[in-house]
Amino acid sequence: MKRWICLLIILALAVFVVAQKVTIIANAIKGGKNTQVVEWFEKFLPDIEKELGIQVELIQTGIKDEDFKARIVLDIKGGGGADILWIDGFWVPEFVEAGYLRPIDDILESIPAWKYYFDSMKAMGSYKGKTYLVPASTDVRMIYYNKELFKKAGIPIPWQPKSWDDIIKTARIIKEKLPGVIPLQINAGTEMGEATTMQGFFMVLLGAGGNLYDWDSGKWIVNSSALRDTLNFYKQIYVDEKLGDAQLQVSPGAREKTFDLFRQEKIAMYVEGTWMYTSVLNPNNPSWGFPDRDERIGWAAMPGRGRPGDPEFVSISGGTGFAVNPNTKNIKLVAEVLKRILYVEPQLSYFMLKPFVSPRSDLADSCWTVNKDKFIAETSRALVKYTTFRPAFPVYPEISFQAQLLTERVVTKQMTIEQALKDFAAEVTRIVGKQNVIEKP
């Protein structure tokens, strides 16, 4: 009898062990968005599975960032979801406030690589004194330009504008010399979502010495001359001189369509992040990759407005990372998997597939030494010193939407700059309260 019970227990345990599974979700899909991420996981997940004797499953999505966020939120709120979440760092505060992330300080203690992370990067993943996210990579933002189109238009290469005027002048030449080519796209509108705020609005606003948030007083800026000039710049490009295509910016699937047109060499200049070069234009990307990317596509630092006192160049950084679902059943296994993802070996093989600006010191030099990625090396060297981060408070996404709306109203001529700014100020004030807004000269 006893023997039978023993056998039963062993059997039950065996079933339990076999059923053990750790799931990872990332906004990536093979052959599409972030295909390199999937290829990377396929490469080393089997080893982890073998070593730990468990199943590790990657849930592929490859959808719009906003939809991905909604999926994760609904998954967790519904009591389920993947164990390890590869999410955007700026979602951390609002997720934590809602109780959607598990603090991982206890896990990090057992992860040897954690001590190599830069403090600024650790800050991105923490909120109110606890850590919730291990940064996977960070980035910088810049202007990409198509060298072939520039050559055809007779613009000398390498090209580096020193002010907004330089950008406009170049765009005018392209408009005149190359009909059918959109000279310049700087993201605007709500369809582009956060890509408008980060790659468009902030890149212009910072160049005028402005910001959405005043770090000194801790208040949101609802009106300033920098804000006004930012909108004037948008208006000049999209409305007055038609150097950009406003219809494209607000049409459905705008971001993918823009990548399509950039790939077809119908866009000469486009402001985007590191990701554009390493993933979208990557020669191994079947949808948008350029086989001769390194020869064909150039980059330039985004200049400031060009008046005395304005920043010389600007960039803003975001980053993604690994967080842990509070609904996870087996935290020990999750910790083991996470630990192995952060080993140097897989990190380097990820870098090989999709180079990134590293958030940790032991890998930061790898682009110089191990893999010799010229693009990452040069952009990091040139732009990291100028870069800044967005004010990722829980309320930020709402303010960010208002900023997208602001640009949309101006580029589609729905409102004048004054009307749009008035609406923006009223909405932001309603969101954060009168005591938390400020007007700047």
Binding site: A70, W91, A98, G99, E191, Q247, S251, P252, P394, E398
Partner: protein, 293 residues
């Protein structure tokens, strides 16, 4: 003398109970839940996801001062009028009349084609229409350019027309089938007599067809109005854009509740839309009752 029923009253109640339970679980309870959510400031992320406050009618007051609400309401009404009443019911009636008393083969062919548009899954349909109307690669623009016409950005320049045409194409089958069936109920002798005395087509329609199928028309209008009011498929075509020009009420709800995570506010809008639907239904029902008496 007591009227004889097929089954007793008790049995009727007993048989209704399962249906009532299902309706309570899947319709009435969620409606009350939405009403309750609509009175909170609950969000899907942030602190209000865990500790929402009761705010009474604040959300409702905000809806009525929200320009996006009026925008969505206006577009929804245009959409219902254009695609449901004029489009689906009008075109459905025309098709039904054109094939009425015609050869069976013609009728089957026309009906099959129209029904095809009705039974294809929504995602596929949306994809087909995007492929058809896309500015750069769409079939329509490519064809037009063969004849020397300029390419038109349909989604951008004619957003409402686009979704109205789309939904007309999509949903005409229902009205057409219903009207075809209704026409079959008219005793053939009426029209044959009219034929003999040489009545004009318009008089035949006005004096014989219309009075005979009036109640079917009202049924059709109630159903398609409510369906169209709540339809979400245009989202797959336009995402509510460009610049909110095709943002129907359901898309407006979706945007607030699931894109900006304001689930409380989204629920409040849902409640308002529910009331609008009720009003529409009551309007049609009273109208059809009045006509009958």
């Amino acid at each position: 003398m007591q009227k004889k029923y097929l089954i007793g009253k008790k049995a009727v109640v007993l048989l209704l109970i399962p249906a009532l339970i299902l309706i309570s679980i899947f319709l009435i309870f969620p409606a009350i839940w939405v009403l309750k959510l609509g009175m909170t400031n609950e969000t899907l992320t942030g602190i209000k996801a865990r500790e929402p406050d009761f705010v009474g009618f604040e959300n409702f007051l905000r809806i009525f001062s929200d320009r996006f609400f009026y925008n969505a309401l206006r577009i929804s009404l245009l959409f219902v009028f254009g695609s449901a009443i004029v489009g689906q019911a009008g075109l459905g009636m025309i098709l039904a009349l054109l094939t009425y008393r015609k050869s069976r083969r013609l009728r089957t062919t026309v009906q099959s084609i129209v029904i095809l548009a009705w039974i294809i899954p929504e995602v596929v349909v949306a994809y087909l229409w995007i492929a058809f109307l896309d500015k750069d690669f769409g079939t329509l623009n490519v064809t037009l350019s063969w004849f020397g016409f300029e390419k038109v950005n349909w989604f951008y320049n004619h957003p409402i027309l686009t979704i109205v045409l789309f939904n007309t194409w999509r949903g005409t089958a229902y009205s057409m089938l219903l009207f075809s069936a209704a026409l079959e109920t008219i005793p053939p002798s009426y029209l044959e007599t009219a034929d003999i005395i040489g009545t004009s087509a318009w008089r035949k329609f006005k004096d014989i067809v219309l009075p005979n199928i009036k109640s079917y028309i009202f049924t059709d209008l109630i159903l398609i109005t409510l369906w169209t009011f709540n339809v979400f498929t245009p989202y797959l075509l336009t995402g509510g854009g460009p610049a909110f020009k095709t943002e129907l009420l359901p898309i407006y709800i979706y945007r607030n509740a699931f894109r900006y995570f304001k689930i409380g506010y989204g629920s409040a809008i849902s409640t308002v839309v529910l009331l609008i639907n009720l009003l529409l239904a009551i309007f049609y029902i009273t109208l059809s009752r009045r006509k009958r008496t």
